[in-house]
Structures are given as C-alpha cells and as structure tokens.
Symmetry: C2
Subunit: 490 residues, 2 copies
C-alpha cells in the first residue's frame, strides 16, 4: 500500500502494442498480459489460464441455461472416433481429414484401426443416437456436449485458431425436416441472444453460402460479428444436416404408420473463440473491457492509505463494502496486496477489464462514501462519489449501463463501418477501408471466388433480415434476389 513500493518495471497501462497500428500485436499482448491464455508447450495448443477460464465458466453457465430452457440435455461421448466411422459421410471426412490427429498406439500395441481425436462429434454421436431411436416416440433427441476438440492447426492464434479448443456441440434428431430446420434456427437465435445480451457483441444472423457451409451439412447458419479492426468473426454456427448424417449412420425410426424413416439431424457449436471476439470488440489501448454480465470480477475494491493509523479504518470499510456487494450478488474482489501500489493496481485491473473500480481512502471513510470509476469511460467523466448507503443500487445500475453502453458502442461501430456497394470498384474500396460490404451476389461460386481473389474478402452470410428488393450481381450482373455480406475475416 505504501505508495513508493512499486514493482515499477511492469507498467501495464502502456506496455501494449498500439491498437490502431498493430491490432494483431495488441490482441496478443492483451491475451497474454491479462493472463487469459498462453501458448502451451504442445504444438498449436493453448492453456486457458484461470482468469480466462473464469470468464469461460460464466459464459458456459449462461449458455447452458439457455440450452436447457429449450429442453436440451447434456451428455458425454467418446474422445476418440474409429477411422471407419469418420469415413462414412463423404463430404464430412473430406472437410476434416486433413486436420485430424490420429491415435495409432494404445496399451503399448499398434492399433488395428486408427482412432481420431474428435475434431467434432457427428461421426460418433450419430451411430450412438441410432441405438436410442426406434420409434417416433423417441424423437426428438436433443443433446449437447461440453468438451474440447482437436484440429491440427498450422498458424495458431490464441482463442481464435488453436489446435485444441473448448466448445459445446449440440446434436439433435427429429422426425421431420421442418422440425430440424426450426431447431437449427432456434439455436441460432439462442446464440444471437447470448452474444448480444451477455457478451454485448452485436451480430448478424445469416445463411452461409454453399462454399462456406459445414462439411456434410444441408445448410449452415451463422452469427457474424465485426471486430475492432473491421474484420469479421464467425461467432457461432448452426447446421441443418438434412438426412445426410442419418443416412450415413442409420438413424432410422418407425413413424406413426409403422414405416421406416430416416431422421433429420442438426448440429450447432460455439467455442472459446468468442472470448477472442469479446477482446477484439470491447478492448482498448488500456487492455480488456469485460462485459459486466460475464465478467469474472464485476467490481474490484482497492484500499488506499499511507499511514498505518489509516489502514485500520480503511480496511474496515473495505470489508464492509465487500460484504454488502457480495450479499447483493455482485462478483466483487478486494485487492489488498500491500506490496503493490494503488496506481499499479489501477493499471492492472484496467488491463484485466474489470468494469467497475471502487477506491476507498481515509477521506472516503470520513464521508461514508467511495470513489467509483467506470472502465469504459476514461478519466474524470467515468468517476463519481457514491454514498455507501446507496452503493448497492448504484453499482447495479452502473453495471447495467456499462453492459448496454458496450453493446451500443459496438453496434454504432459496425453500422459506421458497413457500406452497400453497387459497383465492383466500390466493393474493392470498401474492403480496403475494412468495412463490412453489403452487395448483391447471384449465388455463383465463381463470382464468390473472384471477390475473394481480388480483395481477400470472404462471403460472410446472407443476413436473415433482408430488405425487400432485388438487384444485379456485383460481379457478373446476373439476377440476385438477396443481399450478402462480404468482409475480410478471422
């Protein structure tokens, strides 16, 4: 607490790469310095550190509740998938085979059949589900699994692209195609609501093009978010698998007329990648800004005193403030470490993105008030003195305000950086300006490929929310019935 005793070498507020000129470097600095994650001593893999994992736990708890509200139940399926299973759905294996890690030796013996470390679990859950389904009465089956999956990754980036990542994968089976489509869209809506309401990340729900869909799917829906550098992040996907996997894995049931039918399946996933998204949407030059609803610590309390005779009173009030906030259900942390200065702690907790900081010094004790500082508003503008008697309500209100303000800021940013392009030159310019570009596209993969080659922008999605008009393909001039979003992407 003594102001002179600073571990000064680590000036957290200023040591990050410049967010404006080196966004990727800034991102990596934030992830590492905020102790969210780091590279593992295993090729392409990451370690999710306790602070990052605490965020993930809050995300998991919330998303899990949302799944269960739609009657989904959790289960656990094997980590390893026999090669022959993976080979059964042709498009699926083509999409994933190059990225698979193979177990070939077990119990000191060469295996007869290699086992894949799951890259995703359609190929093992399909065959298992098929045992559980005999009649239409057994449907729907609504499953989810929380686990990690493994996809060999040549150019790993923490959270965004690592060989191992943590996620949930939902797998459902239905009696009708329509019901499967409804479930696919329902889970997309769960993702949208979760991302916008909890993560404060505005998203565009849309349909993926044929070229961008999940290997083996009939159609893939996505929620696309704009990062702080204008690039897109696919934040979650929901796949209508048609009867493709049901045919591959014999998911057959007897319908009400006692006739054999193939089931209709879906799968949908969201991963630790969203943590990377939250950093890139909300972070600033000082570091992270955690959305209050999922923040590991919503409030950090920092005692400030110089003389020993001040310490007792200050720490007594710190304890009191901690208790009333804790009782009110606020996730509050006290940083009372005496070998770090208050200024160092301010920087540290700003870097870690705690939404609200409460400072308590001798004068605050006298006035029975505290200084509250918002992470999302730097300087005096974000500071206010709050009486202890009204602190609980004020903290609740401020956390809500920050949550809404982060969302609104991100939405404003996206809207300011989204442009309709009518000509190919406009498209190129917009991509160069790091915008989301709204265009008419005819649906021809050749036109899509040309855009990618010329601009490095990929087809993000056909937004579900469509203006009531049609137009000409920006590449070939052919008829187009829908707007599509193109952008460079992670």
């Amino acid at each position: 607490m003594v102001a002179t005793e600073k571990p000064g070498s680590r000036d957290t507020g200023q040591g990050l790469a410049n967010r404006e000129t080196d966004f990727p470097g800034w991102y990596n600095d934030v992830v590492m310095r905020a102790e969210l994650a780091e590279d593992a001593p295993v090729r392409g893999c990451m370690v999710v550190r306790p602070y990052g994992y605490a965020l993930w736990e809050n995300m998991v708890a919330n998303l899990d509740r949302r799944f269960k509200d739609t009657d989904v139940v959790n289960a656990a399926f094997p980590l390893l998938i026999p090669q022959s299973f993976l080979l059964k759905e042709a498009e699926h294996v083509e999409g994933f085979a190059p990225e698979v890690a193979w177990v070939t030796v077990g119990g000191s013996e060469e295996l007869q059949e290699p086992l894949a470390v799951r890259p995703t679990s359609e190929a093992i859950i399909g065959p298992i589900m098929s045992r559980w389904i005999q009649s239409y009465r057994d449907l729907p089956v609504l499953l989810n699994q929380w686990c990690s999956v493994f996809r060999w990754e040549k150019r790993p980036r923490l959270f965004l692209r690592t060989a191992e990542f943590w996620w949930q994968e939902g797998h459902t089976a239905h009696a009708t195609e329509q019901e499967a489509e409804e479930r696919t869209r329902m889970m997309l809506e769960v993702y949208r609501a979760f991302l916008e309401e909890e993560m404060a990340i505005p998203v565009i729900p849309g349909l993926k093009s044929e070229g961008q869909k999940f290997p083996g799917a009939l159609r893939t829906y996505t929620v696309e978010a704009m990062m702080g550098d204008g690039k897109a992040l696919q934040a979650g996907t929901s796949h209508n698998l048609g009867d493709h996997f049901a045919r591959a894995y014999d998911l057959i049931f007897l319908d009400e007329r006692n006739e054999r039918q193939f089931a209709w399946t879906t799968s949908w996933g969201m991963s630790t990648r969203v943590i990377g998204g939250a950093i890139m949407v909300h972070g600033d030059q000082k570091g992270l800004i955690m959305p209050p609803r999922v923040a590991p610590h919503q409030v950090v309390v920092i005692p400030i005193w110089r003389k020993d005779e001040e310490k007792t009173d200050v720490m007594e009030m710190v304890g009191r403030v901690f208790t009333i906030l804790k009782k009110a259900g606020v996730r509050v942390k006290v940083d009372a470490a005496e070998h770090k200065s208050p200024g160092w702690k301010f920087n540290e907790w700003e870097l870690k993105g705690v939404p609200l900081r409460i400072e308590i010094g001798p004068r605050d004790v006298q006035n029975s008030s505290v200084m509250v500082a918002r992470r999302d508003r730097p300087g005096k503008e974000g500071k206010e003195i709050v009486g202890v008697d009204i602190l609980t309500q004020r903290v609740a209100d401020l956390l809500e305000e920050i949550q809404n303000s982060l969302y609104q800021r991100a939405l404003d940013f996206r809207e300011a950086n989204t442009r309709h392009a009518s000509t190919y030159d406009e498209l190129k310019q917009a991509v160069d300006d790091r915008q989301f570009v709204d265009i008419f596209w005819c649906g021809d993969p050749a036109c899509e490929a040309k855009i990618k080659e010329d601009t490095r922008a990929t087809n993000r999605c056909m937004p579900l929310d469509q203006p009531d008009d049609t137009g000409k393909c920006i590449v070939c001039g052919g008829e187009s019935e829908a707007h599509w979003i193109f952008a460079r992407a992670y």
Copy 2:
C-alpha cells in the same frame, strides 16, 4: 394413461439380475436400464447418457463450489502431452506408460515426437506452472481442471473402469512441505465431506501403503467406501507429491531471502467412478436409489386418471403441484406421457431411483391432497397422504430424511461388515465373508503381498482415525504401530 395400454414387455421392476446372487450382473443391468451409461462403439470407452450426466452435473456443481471455497481456481490444460514430458518423472512414467494412447500422426504427417492422450496431467501442468512461479509471492498456486482422461483398459466396466473417464484433477504448488501436506489433507477432507454429505456414502479416510500410492507421489491419501457386496471402492485420492515433480519440471521459486527453492506440489482427483459407487451403495433389487441432494429429479409426479372427464382436474392439480415445488427449488419432473400406464411409470422411476414419487388421482383432487411414496421404503410403510397446503415443507423434510437414512443405512452396513482379525485364519475367514478386515500390519511389502496372494484382499488404507494401541503384524508377528484395512476391491 388408460390402464390397459401398457408397453408390457419391458417390466422394469423385475428384469434386473439378482442383486444377492449376481451383484456384477445386477450392477450392469442397473447402469444400462436406468440409462446412466453404456458401452461406446470404441474399445473400452463409455457414453455417459443424459440421465447419468445430469447426476454428474449436480456432483460437479457441488464439488466445484467446495473447491472454490478453499480458493482453488479452474483452468484448462492441453489434452496431449509430449512424450519427453511424460518421461521426466521416472516412477510416474513407469506407472502410466503401459496405459497410454499415443497420437503419432497429425495433419496428415508422422509426428517427430509422439503425443500422449493425457492419462493425468502432472506432466503437462508441472512445466506450465513453472512459468508462472518466480517468487514466493506467486505461491501458492491452486488449480483444478475438469476434463476426461484416457488410460488403456483391458477389462472395462461402466463407470468403475473405462478407458476414458471424466474427472477433476487438482494441482497445487506451495512454498513449504508443510503447506503442501496441509493442502493434501484439506482436499481429502473435501472429498470426505462431499461423499458423506452429498452422495450419502460413508468413507474411511486413510493413508495408502507404499505399494498402493500414486506413481511419483511422496504419499497418497484415500477415501475408501464399502459397496453393497462388501467390496471396497477407492472413491477419491489426494497426493502429496513432495518435491518430486518440482524437481522433474523445474518448479523453482525465489524465497523471501532471494534463494532458489523447489516448490512442493500436490494433486487430487475424483471421477465418474463415484457414480458407480453410489449405485453399488444405495441400489436395491428395484434399481437405483439416488441420494436426494444430487438426484437429477428429486420428485416425479405421476397423474392417474381413467376417464377423460377426470383428466382435466387431475392435470390441473399436477400443474399446480409442479409449480409450487419448482418454486420451492425442488427438482421436480412430471411424467404425463399418455402411452404408458401409471404402473409402468412407477417401475420406471423406481428403477431410475427418484427419491420421491407423488401420485395424483381424482380422489386426491377432491381431498386437495396427494400420495407421496418414498423410494427407499418399499410398500405401505413408505407411503403417506399429504395435504397440498403443507406439501412443500413435507417434501423438503422427506428428502432430508431419505438423504440421512441412505447414509445411516450404508454406515450400519459397513459397520456390520467390518471385523478386527487377530489371527491369519480370522483374516482369511473375514475376507471370505466379504468383510472389511482391520488388522495390524508391520509395513513390510512382503507381508502385504502374501495377504493379497492368499486372499485376493488388497491393502486399502491406514485409517487416519486410529485407536490408541499397537500390536503384532498378522503375517510375520513383527511390531505394528497402526491398524490397516484390507479388503477385496474394485
């Protein structure tokens, strides 16, 4: 609901193997028929089905809270461990190498160094922790990971022994040997409290013999439980790793005098195996009995009506009962399926071990009361009529009574089946009688091995709670300062 419309072929109440004469067959039947788990189409692996996983989720939530109350934080470490890491602690690799599954191919290429699918994570968490620890100020580090691990298994049994299983593994590092020992014992106490208070499984906390300890540990503590057939189950272990792993993985810190010291580490784990334990401790000829505190459904409500005109009133009351119990925080399920008879449902939910059944028929509607039946007391003795106005309180009391009664019954059973043996013949007889046998043993591995060879009983532990006496080794007659428990075990 129509009483004649029974899917009669599946008479769940009577189809289980005989628990008295074929305990293993009964166990397997219960696991399968209650839809807790099943064999996966991958050698030695299991699928944890939604009902089994719901139980595991309740266990995880409770245990996780208990860990966090002792300042443990969660994190996620890589699934795959480079071979060279595993080789660094000699005893550790010797213990686990024969059971390891190896990834040798990734991204379509032969790997330079094989990667182990983690059998446990000391060998990867050690090296990572060593990056995080510079000074004594960084200690203690108190980590936990929820994940699945993989150990090649020749004779798998659902929950008890499968190649893949789900668990938590705690890993901590400390500045002093004493602190590490205190943490080891603290986590053992967490396991004891969890097992006894939540799972209603009485356990004996004790020390493992040298021959039974974790590969690489200084000493291993265990909580041992008696199953319904008198055999022992090791339900959780907590290891003081000394400085063995710190030396292998360079866990070095600067102490207060700025001198380099090796850290002292611990690890501790509890797994889905405990689910198998709960089945074998509480189950009966009708199936499972779920301990109320962790039961996926604490109460099942079954409507009973014959004529359509009765249905409306009955279902209205069912809805009302569901709502008031739900509001009171009870995990309640309504089974209103009309293609199954009430009798079939009674059997089904008894098989699945739901602690309380509520039956609601037309007469109950008139009397504004319901029939409540306890799972743990068969027949009339366990049934009572309860007024709807006092239902919430009565249900809470009954759940508590069942929880306590399950624990007491298991404790009585264990005490009735534990015997002190003074002679080798007494020991052999006691093991034949499927008892826990309390003996004096000198500590010599040769005497321990002889007992195992002669009786198939293994050394379970030296109970922490010791009478104040000494004696002679039951095998060699040498001096013995402690009582030890021997028993056949899972």
